[in-house]
């Protein structure tokens, strides 16, 4: 269950790299926590911090104009690799409500939807144009992501507007902050019926 995502307006930051994997988003040494919280400070750890622990001023998120950004404009195949949902927990805790990219890895995409973070697929051209405008805005560029209308528009009156699509089930989950488990449990009679109807003896033997 998560906070509903209907419409969000916020500041953007561009991370212009393709194939950013979840090992980069949250490195393995931070996966030992047994809570869903506490991952934000380690987001992009090995890029954000130098080996002496100081902030790396070159890294996009550390630049002054990135401060307070809530929308990440990312490259293709964002979130590839490990299934670790910790990556989305870290992004959300850091303050991101939406990620805009030309494509996402499947597991990461699903994990976003489970946590009220909107994964927005735009075409490569639209993503590039957004990145260009965001950089030109030097920290002042703001976007509105309207999940109901499935549209991304900018605030600057600069006229950027692009449609995106999300499969209806995922969209509904995000719009309503649905508890997916509660919803599935409404289908309990169907699950029980399915189990009874299965061929006896097929599958696992009891230990």
């Amino acid at each position: 269950m998560s906070e509903p995502f209907i419409r969000h307006t916020g500041k953007c930051v561009v991370l212009p790299r393709a194939h950013v994997d979840t090992d980069q988003i949250i490195p393995k040494q931070f996966l030992k926590r047994i809570e869903r919280t506490g991952f934000g400070p380690a987001l992009f750890h090995d890029w954000r911090f130098r080996s002496d622990g100081s902030a790396n001023p070159e890294f996009e998120l550390n630049r002054p104009e990135a401060s307070g950004a809530t929308i990440l404009i990312a490259g293709a195949n964002f979130g590839c690799g490990s299934s670790r949902e910790h990556a989305v927990w870290a992004l959300a805790e850091y303050g991101f409500r939406a990620i805009v990219a030309p494509s996402f890895a499947d597991i990461f995409y699903a994990n976003c939807c489970q946590n009220g973070v909107a994964p927005v697929r735009l075409s490569g051209d639209d993503s590039d144009e957004l990145a260009r405008r965001c950089r030109a805005g030097r920290g002042a560029y703001r976007l509105t992501i309207d999940l109901e209308a499935q549209r991304v528009t900018d605030d600057a009156g600069g006229g950027f507007s692009a449609a995106f699509t999300m499969e209806p089930y995922r969209r509904e989950m995000l719009l309503r902050g649905l508890d997916e488990i509660g919803r599935t449990l409404l289908e309990e009679p169907r699950i029980a019926e399915f189990e009874q109807g299965r061929e006896a003896g097929f599958g696992m033997r009891e230990a």
């Binding site: 212009p16 790299r17 393709a18 194939h19 994997d21 090992d23 980069q24 490195p27 393995k28 040494q29 996966l31 030992k32 926590r33 047994i34 809570e35 869903r36 090995d46 080996s51 490259g75 293709a76 195949n77 590839c80 690799g81 490990s82 299934s83 670790r84 949902e85 910790h86 989305v88 494509s103 890895a105 499947d106 597991i107 699903a110 994990n111 489970q114 946590n115 499969e167 209806p168 089930y169 509904e172 997916e180 488990i181 599935t184 449990l185 289908e187 309990e188 169907r190 699950i191 399915f194 189990e195 061929e199 003896g201 097929f202 599958g203 696992m204 033997r205 009891e206 230990a207």
Partner: protein
Amino acid sequence: MTPRTLFDKVWDAHVVHRFPEGPALLYVDLHLVHEVTSPQAFEGLRRAGRRVRRPERTVATVDHNVPTGDRSLPPDDPIAAKQLDALAGNARAFGIDLFDLSSPQQGIVHVIGPELGLTQPGMVVVCGDSHTSTHGAFGAFALGIGTSEVEHVLATQCLVLSKPRTMEARFTGQRAPGVTAKDLILALIGRIGAAGATGHVIEYTGEAIVSLSMEERMTVCNMSIEAGARAGMIAPDETTYAYLAGRPRAPADAAWARAVLAWRRLPSDAGAAYDTQVSFDAGAVEPQVTWGTSPAMVTAISGRVPSPADFASEDERQAVARALAYMALTPGTPLEGLPIDRVFLGSCTNARIEDLRAAARVARGRRVAAGVRALVVPGSQQVKAQAEREGLDRVFRAAGFEWRNAGCSMCLGMNADVLGRGERCASTSNRNFEGRQGAGGRTHLMSPAMAAAAAVAGRLVDVRAWEVRDL
């Protein structure tokens, strides 16, 4: 009736319900659980007052953060110990079988599932780990999921999923000597890219796949995720049934006969349509070595480090330039001869008994090069015991390799087995991402025989030129 693929058949047999908005409620036969991606899921159940719906279809082990050294000592990392304790407590509280550090069956979750006969053809298998695709080698639909979905499966024994598309990856011809399953899959990933199969389930077909052993098939399916696939699958056949027969959790007696009859109906029908197809000449594949920071950044051992200018898109050129800077490599450098500091023989990709035998054949009677530290981490305690019965541990130790207990170890470096900054490693694992094996570490992925030869030579070499020895 429309001809169906293997995947279509497994999918159709598990649809409990179709939601009006599109996705299916899919029944899960086997849910594998490990210590890193499950604690938050169990906590969610507890908070909502929910139970585990089918504990007997849920099996847990510890693998990601476990120490691989002396098991009689307590883990020296208190945070990791807390995670192990949490899984033990959750398994007790929710009635789930757990193969813990004291169990002779403990091991990497994707090694023990098949080994125990838990993984079977036609099943839907899930686990909070992307390399769950391994189990597709049995003709199961096996996929990695996030922790929220782990909680969902624990509570409902189902997963909500839109039907993925299908891709056939056909490997024609036969492998040349010295070329392994690892080389086939690396070559495929290199061809189609790290997102080449996103949204798809890959079915691997063709004579070069049919002739693979079960362990080799697992290596192929294991790395499906590195091409972005939801899953990888191989049709079950006599090789599959011979592997499964007599395993502790496989069906037995009359149930076995019934199961095999059902499994024989699983292979794709003649004329079944795939959404995408790619064909590959297995005979042309050479031993592969990665040079970059994605498994798709790969070439033959006879090849050279490419230049960013060799790539078509600006995205790729930037990614390659970044990768070369991270890997400290210059375009045009031959891969053969590149000096290494560390060798890792292990992981859910390549730490089964056949992998250890292949490496031992190379290591036998030779010595790890001066200055190189080489680690052998069996995929499970059962693999370790088997290797010790065959004397492989003595071969490795005599050659100067460290012989460890089972776990994920340096594949992801959650325990103490990590690369130092700037160290270069020949690794049999599955990911060469920046920092994957340790912050600043540089990973080259390859087959077990190639990694063993690299350990002896102290540099990357073409194992095909080496004499391999009987064990």
